[in-house]
Amino acid sequence: MADLILLFFLLVCAVTAIVQKELLNSVIILSIYSLIMAVVWVRLGAVDVAITEAAVGAGISTVLFIAVLTRVKRREEITRTKLQVLPLIVVLAVGATLIYGTLDMPDFGSPTAVTNTHVVPRYLEKGVEETGTDNFVAAILASYRGYDTLGETTVIFTAGLCVVLLLRSNKKKL
C-alpha cells in the first residue's frame, strides 16, 4: 500500500514537472521527485542508491539546475500546438510494449532470478574473506568492479574539466 502511495506521488511529481511553465517550479518539483525516489530505494533495500539519490538527485543537481537558471530565461514560452495523433500513438505503443516486457521479469527478490543465481552467490560466499569489507556494495564497486569505478571517477573528472574549458573566462587573453 505504501509503495502504491509513493508511486502515485512519483507520477504526480513527474507530470507536474513537465507541465510547469515556470522552470524554477519544475526544478523544485524534480527535487521532491528525487526525495520520494530515495524513500522508494530504501524500501527496495538499496540503501547505497538511496543515499546517492538523496545527495545527488535532491541535493546537488537541484542546486546546479538553479545555477543554470541564473544564466538562461526562467520561463518556458507558451506555445499552442494541435494534438498530434501519430506521435501520441507511437508513445502509447512504446509504453505498452515496455510494460508488456516487464511481465516476463522475475518477481522482486526472487531467489531463482538469473541475477541472483549467477555471480551473486559467489560474492556473498567469498566477499568478506576476499575483500575484507562488510559492505558488499562497496566491495563490488571498489574491488571486484574496480575498473568500472575508475572509469566513473575519470568521467566525473572529465565533466569538471569540460565545464572549466567551456565556461571559465580567460581574462589574460581578452
Binding site: V56, A67, E130, G132, N135, A142, V163, R168
Partner: protein, 152 residues
C-alpha cells in the same frame, strides 16, 4: 512613517536575515563535513562511499558560497585548489592501482599491497580508493557550481 524610514526598516530586516543565515551556515558546515567524512570512511562498513560522501562534502562548500557569495567562497577554497584536488583524487585511484603492479599484482589488485593479510590489504586499498573518489567528486562539484554561477 515616511517612505525613507520604511526603506531603512527593510534594509535592516534584510541585514538581520543575512546574519541569521550566515550564523546558521557557519555552524552547520562543520556537521555537514563531519557527516561527509563519516560516509566516505565508513562506506565499506555501511551504506555510502566515496561518491556520496564527496557530493555531501562538495555541497558543504556550495552552501557556503550560496550564502556568502562566490568571492568569499573562493577565499576558502581557491580556483587553483579545487582544480588541483579534482585531478588529485583520480590520481590517487590510479596510483593505488599502479602501486599494486609495482608489488607484483595486477592493476587495481589491492591484495598485492604489502599491508599484511590479502584481505586486510584489500580493505586498505578500498579505503584509499574511496578517499580518492571523494576528493575528485567534491572538488568537481565545487568547480561545476562555481563556473556556472560565475559571471564573465
Amino acid at each position: 512613517m515616511s517612505e525613507k524610514e520604511m526603506a531603512d526598516d527593510l534594509v535592516t530586516d534584510e541585514q538581520n536575515s543575512q546574519i541569521i543565515r550566515k550564523t546558521l551556515v557557519k555552524k552547520l558546515i562543520a556537521f555537514i563535513q563531519l557527516y561527509a567524512l563519516y560516509i566516505i570512511i565508513f562506506g565499506e562498513l555501511g551504506p555510502g562511499g566515496g561518491f556520496q560522501g564527496g557530493v555531501i562534502l562538495g555541497s558543504s562548500i556550495i552552501i557556503y558560497i550560496l550564502i556568502f557569495g562566490l568571492e568569499e567562497g573562493r577565499k576558502r577554497i581557491s580556483q587553483k585548489a579545487s582544480d588541483l584536488f579534482s585531478s588529485t583524487g583520480a590520481l590517487i585511484y590510479g596510483g593505488v592501482g599502479l602501486l599494486a603492479i609495482l608489488f607484483g599484482g595486477h592493476f587495481l589488485q589491492y591484495s598485492a599491497l604489502p599491508l599484511g593479510e590479502p584481505a586486510v590489504a584489500n580493505h586498505y586499498g578500498i579505503m584509499a580508493v574511496e578517499i580518492g573518489i571523494g576528493i575528485t567528486v567534491a572538488a568537481t562539484m565545487i568547480i561545476l557550481f562555481c563556473e556556472m554561477i560565475g559571471r564573465d
